[in-house]
């Protein structure tokens, strides 16, 4: 029998905190990481809230001006080639490796891979290209390419940690790091790798986040408590950045090391809507196919799923499509299913969100609770019959799904359950 795949280490640089303990506490208590935020002191930016990263300041495009909490020791040589997300990613990876008790030799073993989800760094691209255009000879800084293009996260950090098994990046927008987890799972299952670390990261920068206001996708609320997906008054998402890392390995080898699991990663599925770039299929048909594929792949019945961590960004089209997908797959089991989103507390981490929410699911499974939809006041009528708990609660977990959807109608569903040891 195949050995289960366990999540044995987590690392966070996030709006909810920069370590497992703080993130768990805030997730359980519904303490939002979204704060009043001004992306510019001079301009009237129509964005008033963000999931800010306490203790980090990476607004400058010069790494020498960056600040980070002194709990992290970041090598100067590494910083030169990093984007902000690379700095957060390094801090998250260091935590995850320590949490999983992976040695430097384990990380650099030929059977250990790194899978990243990111979209690159618009902030660094803008900075370096402006500098190049200002030069009479179009001289570009040698780090211009490596600190900015999609892939900056995996090639800077993979090289730094000496990763040898695989070093790959995924760019499917808000599904990117969920895809990274899925393909890491496949490589572990096929025996190509013995261990994999997944990292999702996104710059917390005006260049990455404010352009979403141009798409009218960002909330214009000023009060974090008014950020509420699935509510009739929702008006878009609040953006965040940061990095989340997950260590994955086979239960057989984790047991030998005496490692404790957060949860088992059971499998995954994906699909695409085949429609417009930014709007999901209103019927939720694409996401529903990804959910059904996940159930088939993991040999689960719909009735086995007790909790769904919804994508729930808070855009009208996204919320409606997701509710329709849940209804179409679970219509007869809705009474036995709880659904909540966590972006009303964290902000939407875009390419990072799949890894972020997978990690939050792992925490909820380990500590036997589910997060509530804390800010929900007037549920969208489209949610009728779907249980949207208002507050966090103790929960006896069975199977858990986490949804991610990105541009191009890309849908990813990850499935988890308590590891056998957790009973």
């Amino acid at each position: 029998m195949e050995s289960p795949i366990w999540i044995t280490g987590l690392g966070f640089v996030s709006s909810l905190g920069h370590n497992v303990t703080e993130v768990t506490k805030r997730l359980r208590s519904g303490m939002s990481g979204i704060v009043p935020w001004r992306f510019s002191e001079e301009r009237q930016v129509p964005v008033h809230l963000a999931g800010a990263l306490a203790g980090f300041d990476t607004r400058s495009s010069r790494w020498s001006n960056w600040q980070w909490p002194d709990t992290f020791e970041v090598p100067q040589k590494l910083l030169r080639s990093l984007s902000p997300q690379g700095l957060y990613g390094f801090c998250a990876l260091e935590q995850a490796f320590a949490d999983a008790e992976w040695s430097r030799e384990d990380i650099a073993a030929p059977e250990t891979g790194l899978f990243a989800g990111s979209v690159g760094s618009p902030q660094m691209a803008y900075h370096h290209l402006a500098q190049m255009h200002a030069s009479p000879t179009w001289a570009a800084h040698p780090s211009a390419v490596i600190s900015s293009i999609p892939g900056t996260l995996n090639f800077t950090l993979g090289a730094h940690f000496g990763v040898r098994g695989a070093n790959v990046g995924f760019v499917s927008a808000c599904a990117a790091s969920a895809h990274a987890i899925g393909y890491a799972f496949d490589d572990l299952r096929r025996g190509r790798l013995d261990a994999a670390v997944v990292i999702g990261a996104e710059d917390f920068s005006a260049e990455s986040l404010v352009p979403f206001a141009g798409m009218r996708a960002l909330s214009v609320q000023k009060d974090p408590r008014r950020v509420s997906p699935f509510d009739q008054d929702r008006d878009g998402f609040v953006a965040t950045g940061g990095a989340v890392a997950l260590c994955l390995e086979r239960a057989s080898s984790a047991r030998k090391r005496g490692a404790r699991p957060y949860a088992e990663l059971l499998g995954w599925g994906h699909s695409a809507d085949g429609g417009t770039i930014a709007n999901p299929d209103p019927s939720g048909g694409g996401l529903a196919r990804a959910i059904r594929q996940t159930l088939r792949e993991t040999h689960l019945n719909a009735s086995d799923v007790g909790y769904i961590n919804a994508h729930a960004t808070g855009t009208l089209a996204g919320d409606r499509a997701e509710l329709a997908a849940i209804r179409s797959v679970f219509h007869e089991q809705l009474d036995n299913l709880m659904v909540s989103g966590t972006k009303h507390l964290t902000g939407h981490g875009l390419s990072m969100s799949g890894a972020f929410e997978a990690a939050l699911c792992a925490l909820m499974i380990r500590d036997r609770f589910i997060a509530g939809n804390h800010h929900l006041r007037n549920p969208d009528p489209a949610s009728e019959g779907i249980h949207l708990p208002r507050v966090s609660q103790e929960f006896a977990h069975r199977a858990v799904l986490s949804h991610s959807s990105g541009f191009g109608g890309s849908n990813v569903v990850l499935a988890f359950r308590p590891a056998a040891e957790q009973g």
Binding site: S64, N65, R80, S81, A139, H141, P142, S143, I146
Partner: protein, 125 residues
């Protein structure tokens, strides 16, 4: 020969480097002295590379990659900043032939007018 950027213009561009580099540039700009030229290039190499354990000064015969641990991007960055500070241009063919600290100093010195010939600091190492 192009004028060197003034310290006021250059120092902000040196923000990513250590204070030693900024101080060395100020001293070099004022004196155009060979000793300060070497201190400046050494400061940049120490910042972009790493001095071997137990060493406190850069030696001319050191290999940039093997001894100072500079990868190709660090070498390109050294060229990028030195071209800027010394107002010179190192073409790709010259850059590819640079192996040691002395190779780099000589490639630069070829373009840079120093008050006295280079080599004094190197002879002590």
């Amino acid at each position: 020969m192009m004028d060197l950027p003034s310290p006021e213009a250059a120092i902000p561009r040196l923000a990513a480097y250590g204070q030693t580099v900024a101080d060395a540039y100020r001293a070099y700009h004022q004196s155009r002295n060979a000793d300060y030229f070497e201190r400046l290039t050494d400061a940049i190499l120490c910042d972009l590379g790493q001095l071997p354990a137990g060493e406190s000064r850069v030696r001319g015969d050191w290999h940039l990659q093997k001894d100072l641990g500079m990868d190709s991007i660090a070498l390109a960055e050294a060229a990028f900043i030195m071209e800027d500070l010394f107002a010179v241009r190192l073409d790709n063919a010259t850059l590819q032939e640079i192996q040691t600290v002395t190779d780099l100093r000589q490639a630069l010195a070829h373009h840079v007018q120093l008050v006295e010939p280079m080599g004094r600091a190197d002879s002590s190492s």
